[in-house]
């Protein structure tokens, strides 16, 4: 059986609406109007132990709702959820002792306490046996390079340091599954790289199953073997990222530097995407126009200085995918 099994999950929220202003507040006390929001319609997927899955989708698509259901905070209206063979929300305490959760926007440490004391307290909360705790802590501190910040109160840490401390905090009790909700949000470039490196190592070396939500497509490119795209509360795609790219936006990019002013290019199946002085960026479908033929034709007709072949940026792929499915911001 897969480690995480989700079948036909549905969840509807009732959102109370009220008119603005004092009068609205008073009216709201007497008679409340409700609007129903279908957060999840019919979500199914499964995850084997040791997988690293990227979970992406526009804001309001249902990512957080899914994570909340998987971590036992929220009860679905319909459908089946099994994590490690348990139903998260009915078996909460047993369930949460085997998972780790990091919310990028919230801290689970104590603001005024030094990092190391927060770790000690978490070990007691999770009933981690002292010898195991010390071994785990030392390993995580080395892995996440936390030696220098251990004695500092959490409020004094930089965002990057804090996020590394948060990840360590979520792993002290040796969970088999790690949920990361936007772990790189707001981080500077070196911190993002460090977080990705740690997640990769945890997954490869310790076999921790990772489910990651993000808006940073570089996280996906760097980490996820498999991507689930969610929109309007439904799974729109579930495949390796390269498959998604091939299906959605199979085009190649060719950046050509000419010796003189860039010429007009009129060729079937080739589109000019950008023109800047002596440089052109061309988009083409390699199935229709083989790359060597295009390069040969350009070099024969014009004086070419340099050529660079590339693929569309991952953001473009995803944006195109959302467009195709009408899944813009909900």
């Amino acid at each position: 059986m897969p480690q995480i099994l989700v079948e036909d999950l549905a969840k509807t929220y009732r959102v109370a609406e009220r008119d603005p202003g004092l009068l609205g507040a008073v009216k709201g006390l007497v008679h409340r109007r409700h609007r129903t929001v279908q957060a999840l319609r019919d979500v199914s997927f499964s995850l084997e132990a040791g997988e690293l899955l990227g979970f992406i989708g526009p804001n309001g698509a249902g990512k957080s709702t899914t994570i909340k259901i998987l971590s036992g905070i929220l009860k679905p209206d319909a459908g089946t959820v099994l994590v490690n063979g348990r139903v998260p929300f009915t078996d909460r305490i047993a369930h949460v002792s085997k998972i780790g959760v990091v919310f990028g926007q919230r801290t689970q440490l104590w603001w005024d306490l030094p990092v190391s004391e927060g770790f000690d307290l978490l070990a007691d909360i999770y009933r981690v046996e002292p010898a195991r705790y010390r071994a785990n802590r030392d390993e995580l501190v080395a892995l996440l390079r936390l030696e220098r910040v251990l004695d500092q109160p959490v409020r004094q840490l930089s965002l990057g340091q804090r996020m590394r401390a948060e990840i360590a905090a979520a792993l002290l009790h040796e969970p088999d599954i790690l949920f990361l909700d936007e772990p790189t949000i707001g981080l500077d470039a070196p911190s993002k790289l460090a977080v990705r490196e740690v997640v990769r190592r945890l997954n490869r070396e310790r076999g921790v199953t990772v489910l990651l939500t993000t808006h940073d497509m570089h996280d996906i490119e760097a980490l996820a073997q498999r991507v689930i795209v969610i929109g309007h509360g439904q799974v729109l795609a579930d495949s390796p990222f390269e498959t998604l790219r091939a299906n959605v936006l199979a085009e190649r990019r060719l950046v050509v530097d000419f010796a003189h002013e860039a010429p007009e290019i009129v060729m079937a199946g080739v589109e000019v995407r950008r023109r800047q002085g002596q440089t052109l960026e061309l988009a083409f479908d390699p199935a229709r126009t083989p790359t060597p033929n295009l390069i040969a034709a350009l070099a024969a007709a014009h004086e070419v200085v340099d050529i660079h072949v590339g693929e569309p940026a991952i953001e473009e792929v995803i944006a195109r995918f959302y467009d195709l499915h009408g899944a813009g911001e909900a």
Partner: protein, 267 residues
């Protein structure tokens, strides 16, 4: 680590956080001591004018007040998590984090903060209690000391129940309902005077709805060795604090309903 040890660990962590700003804790403590003294000044002004009210003197009032205020001060040390629950937990989503940990949510809220500054209120309450007892000539014995501890325990249970109830409502309102302060702070004011002074409806409210009378008036009569002027049987006087525990148990029913609602609505 069992729950009791974990609470002590939470408290020691909380104390260390607060001692990062020792000046603030000390000033808040002194402030609480001074402002609560004003409570007694008001009663003193009243009795200075009239001497006695229905046979009750300022000393009696001090004992009633001291008992109920001690209970509240003790409760206030460890219930901040429930007090600020709506604004700081439900509204911000911080309650999610509590549900992500393998411990009961109520236990984690008790561990939220140990309010050091409440020593000021506790010191004032105990001072008033024992000075009052000396003035009216209470003869302390092991039995009476035990009854006092039992009374205060019932009071702590009752005030804890009020705060649990306040927190439970926040699952529906997402705000901490300040209106509950009428019952806590107002309750101390109401319970410092003997029930026999009040109109019947208000007396019944303090016995059957929010049983503050059961954790102050009745057991204190037993400590003062006075029969109830309203005619409650003698066996009832030392038994009454049990109502505080009943109230606490009922509050936890509301708390459970609130958590069930939270996990099905997510807000």
């Amino acid at each position: 680590m069992n729950s009791f040890h974990l609470i002590l660990r939470y408290f020691s962590a909380s104390l260390r956080s607060q001692l990062q700003y020792p000046g603030s804790a000390i000033m808040l403590g002194i402030g609480a001591f001074l402002t609560t003294i004003i409570d007694m000044l008001a009663a003193w002004a009243l009795f200075d004018r009239f001497g006695q009210v229905q046979g009750w003197s300022l000393g009696h009032i001090a004992v009633f007040y001291g008992v109920v205020s001690t209970s509240f001060a003790l409760t206030d040390f460890f219930t901040r998590g429930f007090d600020v629950f709506g604004g700081e937990c439900v509204k911000t989503g911080a309650f999610d984090r509590i549900l992500l940990r393998p411990r009961s949510p109520a236990l984690q809220l008790v561990g939220y903060e140990f309010r050091l500054s409440r020593f000021g209120r506790l010191a004032q309450a105990l001072l008033v209690l024992f000075v009052g007892a000396a003035v009216v000539g209470v003869a302390w014995s092991p039995d009476k000391a035990l009854l006092l501890v039992w009374t205060i325990a019932g009071g702590v249970a009752l005030f804890t129940g009020l705060l649990v109830l306040q927190a439970s409502f926040a699952f529906w309102t997402t705000e901490s309902l300040e209106v509950f302060n009428v019952l806590t702070y107002g309750g101390i004011q109401a319970a410092q005077f003997p029930l026999s002074l009040y109109a019947a409806w208000f007396r019944n409210f303090l016995i059957f709805v929010v049983p503050l009378g059961c954790v102050a008036y009745y057991p204190v009569l037993a400590i003062l060795e006075q029969p109830d002027p309203l005619g409650a049987p003698d066996w009832w006087l030392p038994t009454a604090p049990a109502m505080g525990f009943l109230f606490l148990a009922a509050s936890f029913l509301a708390w459970r309903a609130g958590i069930a609602r939270y996990t099905s609505t997510g807000s």
